[in-house]
């Protein structure tokens, strides 16, 4: 061996002259050596531990630590391996990882390069399901308030499913049986395997978009998203977030029918209605035409019947009223005829003609009496006057009578005579003297 020649590949061979010279390696050399040792001895190993310090970088690589009570191991999952990570890595989850240990030379850190990772105690699919279910529930995607009511009689039904397979066959058969001319639009989609979740989500979205462009009388008013039975892996697409969100955001109400009698998928939880199988979905979505026909016929019959009854009862009422009216009118006429007669009689009695005649006679009589009395009165007064005049004459201071004059009265009236021409033979005269009177008759 030459002096001062280093053999950098051979760490384990003591240098020739250990007393005399030190073997000096570069950092890279040491790291390279460490890397070899690690990769040769820690390949394809399984490690169990608790997850902590999870962090993802934009390239999609995930870093985290595995720890137990006293130690910690750095781990990394590359984006290219992200299929291995079916669930979300969170601090505290206990996992089992499979991979190899190596050293990241740039930083001098050894880490476990994870190729497979499983949650301890639970299948990773199940854990993924639980995580997504909790997340979406918290966001309110399963809330009963958001669920839309189903139309009673849809005019057009949308179906998202595979064109091969039992689901579409069953749906079409049941729909045809219940309501033979219902309108259907099918948007085909893969329902399992690679790319299924995207296809299902896109089909739901496309139906919604297409619907917006239709006139309102031709729109789809409900859709069925369906697949037949299968294993949990087969129907995994219906547990994916992208499908859940497409269902939630669908303006068209969604019935899920994922072909699993007992268990509910995430799609079932988000949907507005869940059916256990595609056939059940077809039964839920539309009533039987015959049932509706019967119901309509029943109502039409009841309508006619009840209206007829009302008309008849009105007819009866009217007839009855007419009869009573006629009767009371006849009575009224009779009553009034009687009253009319007796009133006429009373009126006749009260005729004033007789009364007038009677009064006329009374007036005439009284007038006659008055005239007679007046005449008599006048005569009396005249006589009185004459008497008084004579007395006055006889009492007068001049006393003409004492000188021999006399007053002559015509009897019986007692009128004073001044004119002899007024006397005729046979008249009785009274001559008043100063003393006494003379009664004489004219010859």
């Amino acid at each position: 061996m030459r002096k001062n020649t280093r053999q950098p590949d051979d760490l384990f061979t003591p240098p020739e002259d250990s007393a005399k010279s030190r073997r000096i390696y570069s950092v890279s050399q040491i790291c390279q050596r460490i890397k070899s040792v690690l990769e040769n001895n820690f390949n394809d190993i399984w490690v169990e531990g608790e997850v902590s310090g999870v962090s993802r970088i934009p390239t999609g690589t995930t870093f985290f630590n595995l720890k137990d009570d006293s130690s910690m191991l750095k781990c990394v999952i590359f984006a290219s391996n992200s299929d291995a990570l079916k669930f979300e890595l969170k601090d505290g989850i206990k996992v089992i990882c499979c991979g190899y240990v190596s050293i990241y030379e740039k930083r001098g850190e050894h880490q476990l390069y994870v190729q497979q990772i499983e949650p301890k105690g639970l299948g990773s699919l199940q854990l993924a399901f639980e995580q997504l279910k909790q997340k979406l529930e918290k966001e309110g995607l399963f809330s009963p308030k958001h669920k839309r009511p189903m139309p009673y009689l849809p005019s057009r039904i949308g179906v998202v499913t595979s064109l091969s397979g039992a689901a579409i066959r069953d749906i079409l058969k049941v729909l045809d049986r219940r309501f033979n001319d219902v309108n259907i639009i099918i948007h085909p989609a893969q329902v399992q395997g690679e790319g299924a979740k995207e296809e299902i989500a896109r089909a739901i979205k496309n139906l919604n978009i297409f619907n917006e462009g239709l006139p309102s009388g031709q729109r789809v008013d409900v859709m069925i998203v369906a697949r037949g039975g299968g294993s949990i892996e087969d129907l995994w697409a219906f547990n994916e977030e992208v499908v859940a969100r497409a269902i939630y955001n669908s303006k068209i109400p969604v019935i899920s029918a994922v072909g699993h009698e007992r268990d509910w998928t995430i799609a079932d939880l988000v949907a507005d209605l869940r059916a256990a199988t595609p056939s059940v979905a077809a039964e839920l979505v539309i009533p039987e035409k015959e049932d509706l026909r019967e119901k309509t016929a029943d109502l039409s019959g009841a309508l006619a019947r009840s209206f007829l009854e009302i008309s008849l009862s009105f007819q009866e009422s009217i007839d009855d009223l007419a009869r009573r009216l006629k009767l009371s009118m006849e009575n009224a006429v009779k009553l009034n005829a009687g009253k009319f007669d007796s009133a006429g009689k009373k009126l006749a009695l009260l005729n004033p003609e007789a009364l007038i005649q009677r009064h006329k006679k009374e007036i005439a009589d009284k007038a006659q009496q008055a005239r007679i009395r007046l005449e008599h009165f006048l005569k009396l007064k005249q006589a009185e006057f004459s008497g008084i005049a004579a007395q006055l004459f006889s009492l007068s201071p001049l006393n003409i009578l004492g000188r021999g004059y006399s007053i002559t009265f015509k009897m019986p009236e007692g009128a004073i005579i001044k004119d002899a021409g007024l006397i005729k033979a046979g008249d009785t005269l009274k001559t008043k003297l100063h003393k006494g009177e003379i009664l004489s008759k004219v010859t």
Binding site: L163, N183, L299, S300
Partner: protein, 78 residues
């Protein structure tokens, strides 16, 4: 013209029959309701008549636009 939905028509018809059966309406009102009922019954019956079946596939054509293609039923479910 907005067409009344089947369910609504049926419900209204039911209500009208109820009103008529309960009595207590004037002849005028009863007649009006009866006429309305006859019309609703006609709408319902018409809706349940047999028409042509229409099953379509929603596809995208070469231009990327949506299109409806009638389904050949013998192909479905194979």
């Amino acid at each position: 013209m907005a067409e009344i939905k089947f369910e609504e028509a049926l419900k209204k018809l039911e209500k009208i029959v109820e009103d008529l059966e309960n009595g207590d309406l004037s002849l005028d009102e009863a007649l009006k309701k009866y006429q309305e009922g006859v019309e609703l019954s006609r709408i319902c019956t018409q809706r349940l008549e047999n028409a042509k079946k229409k099953i379509d596939l929603l596809v995208k054509n070469k231009k990327g636009e949506f299109e409806l293609k009638p389904l050949d039923e013998t192909k479905a479910g194979e």
